[in-house]
Symmetry: D2
Subunit: 266 residues, 4 copies
């Protein structure tokens, strides 16, 4: 599936600030980048942060005054239909080191606090992929998708109590449930065709059968159309723009669509 | 300084559980392991978890029934006197990838929630190492060292409000302040000679001048005598024993002392 | 049912402190005080706080040094078997003023935060007394009675997440559920014969059918044997001893038993 | 000072809901109501809730569909300049029963959690009215008045950490500080001439010298011009509109101005 992305963000920085941009599609086997381009207006230098590419590309820049950031890309998403039913959970001691961290509670995913519920609700029957599907279904059925009720301080515990929120909150809750029952889970920002209103999306990856698998507890996007951007423990790690200072959003347009298989590179 | 360690932990496991042990001294330039030995009674296999050794050695095992874990070591701590006064904070964009994570809030160190206080209290004057010393002094002067008032759910915000706690809570608070003002900080478990009552200790490492530097906000231990065990974002990552299941502590003896420079290996 | 009470509390006050004692049985139609006596050793004056007697008798005193407080009483509990099944909830607008306050969230009963769960779990079927019984049964079935996991800062939300606690925590949770679904509920401290280990007890009163009715979500005590002491919104209002300052508990004996119907007054 | 009030609130109720309105000025010695009128469009019956008038007049109604509520009043505020400097705190044991409740923590004013700070910051010097002024000044100097950062779930602890908020948050924080240091404090909703943008206001009353005294920690309004509406422990008790159900705000106009001393009654 060929996906076309055109995201444009305008901010005002009253004072110069260091900024990390996590806007570019990850280069990976399940999504081949045909062409892409990240640009700043006025032009400013970008410095690629070091780090494993599988967690996403992050660029440092310094921003001041009025700044527009634009990312255009054409990506072939090749992962196909994702079906985690029947997938098993590896033995804990066989987990790679960089997977174990995703079993632990984090800033917004206090899996320790949600463990009593998760254990009592989800541990009697299904295991592995089936258990993840059961937990995602519980969230989908019991949560209301409601913009404006959560903010940057809302944690999975808050969302669990409110039973409302946006993609970020659905994802935090599912991640917490998974970790609570012993399944490594992490958060992924993504471009998703067809989301309405158009915006960045946040979904979940679970570690099953020795690999990471996508799942969207909001059911707003099909997993086979998602272009993954950045990966981390929770919203802390995957913000499309981490500002060390202050800025005001002026406008944001995120245009993501399914393109013809032979759509020309950007 | 030659440090002798003899730690012995007895637990009862009503049901078999996976366990990660983080009890061994880190092999590193600032602390040379003369000899050490980790043993389980009854004997049980240990599997070294993969991962960067600078973050500590972690061993997987499976425990059931009555289990005693013993770690004996002789370690030459060679880091000498630690003085962070005058050390500078590197530019953010020059931070290595694996350091940036220690700028972000974590489960027990909600640096975002403590930022308004930290910015208003600690950002007018001193920078870098001097600023860290100022923040550590504020905690030392305003907190009471009080066993029993905090538990495994207590976060830095809770400790900041209570102004009481133990080494874990002092460390979480200093880490949060540091991150809030832009200084990478992480938590380190350690063996500390002379702590009374004898127990595991928890201290802080800050990233200054392109390296990590120890600081103990409780002032219970001298930084030049600490044997570092495990490193992580907060208490989540450095527990000396992470139990995936349940266990009851039967007894714990942690004996750490300064040995003669020519003390014989264990 | 004639109940005999002998409670003795010893505290050490390093500095003189104002203290409110709420230890005496309420004088009310459902529990007739045959005889009772509150005394301090060394002797100290007691000043009855004004306020409605139906909320309990509270005595001011000033305590310093070693103080023993003893309350002895013989009380005929005449309320008989409590059965709230079938009782209805009055129209809100018909609620007396001093009942409405028990519909609102309070320090430890954040009924607003637990409302999404309570509404989804308990609002499809039963109403009034039946709904209260259903909510109390849910707590009894899903909570573990566990001393030592909660403390004076634990709220109903914390208890709901932990699914563990003592009488105080069971009561806070039931009160929050009741308020969330529109049933006024308040907390009552009580002497309860047969509690093991012997201690003060905390239960719930709900406003149904134009009156208050007792219910014990821990099922540790029979409602017809409870001697009510103090009534309030939550643990904030009904502590048997509110200390404006600091004190150390030296010993506490609470001896409550069912006496012969003709047992002699104290 | 003669104050003219014209408040008009329009809501849409998708389903019929019980509503308590607390919009009318309190009849009291410090504010004489020249004339006032509360009306609903379409017309609907109002039932005055019983309860002490000094805490405000509350009216029950049932609302459905589109409803406009209007309150018009002309009030002579006669309390004059409020100066609490030098006022003393009565002995605790002399506090009337209905004042003691305002020493205790409540839903949004967790004075117990803020006590360590308040005791360390504000207990070394000034007492009584001077101490209140010092605490109010601390809030004024350290908080930013910032609409949009707090919501109905924000507590005094949250505000203390954020150091930002609106009148509600300033009031909750001051109330918590006062209770923490032993001064009874409660919350008052008010009409305040000159507030910009025009809105309902929330301020604090402290119990000093055997009476309640107004103080506005935001310094947006002069205490001698405030028309008090409702009194309670915190925002829980004084909402101008408590809806048992759901409604959507359509529009709100709160017009409060200083009128000529001989302005004609409404």
């Amino acid at each position: 599936m060929r996906v076309k992305i055109d995201a444009s963000l305008s901010y005002h920085f009253a004072q110069a600030a260091d900024v990390v941009l996590a806007l570019e599609a990850i280069r990976a086997a399940d999504q081949r980048i045909v062409s892409d381009h990240l640009s700043l207006t006025p032009a400013s230098s970008l410095t690629l942060a070091d780090g494993p590419e599988e967690l996403g590309r992050r660029q440092w820049t310094t921003a001041s005054g009025d700044v527009t950031i634009r990312y255009q890309a054409l990506v072939d998403v090749t992962r196909g239909h994702v079906n985690i039913a029947g997938l098993y959970v590896p033995l804990r001691r066989d987990l790679p080191h960089d997977v174990i961290t995703y079993l632990m509670p984090s800033r917004y995913c206090e899996s320790d606090r949600l463990a009593p519920f998760a254990e009592s609700q989800f541990c009697a029957g299904a295991q592995g992929g089936d258990q993840v599907l059961q937990m995602a279904a519980w969230i989908y059925e019991n949560f209301e998708y409601a913009p404006g009720v959560s903010d940057a301080t809302t944690t999975a515990t808050d969302s669990f109590l409110m039973r409302r929120g946006v993609c970020r909150d659905f994802a935090h809750t599912l991640i917490s449930f998974c970790r609570a029952v012993g399944i490594p889970a992490r958060m992924v920002s993504a471009y998703a065709p067809g989301i309405n209103p158009p915006d960045f999306h946040a979904v979940v990856e679970v570690w099953l059968d020795n690999g990471w698998h996508l799942i969207d507890p909001t059911r707003l996007a099909a997993e086979d159309s998602l272009v993954r951007i950045a990966v981390g423990r929770d919203a802390t790690d995957i913000s499309f723009m981490t500002i060390f200072g202050a800025a005001t959003l002026v406008s944001q347009i995120v245009d993501v669509s399914i393109a013809a298989p032979d759509a020309a590179p950007i």
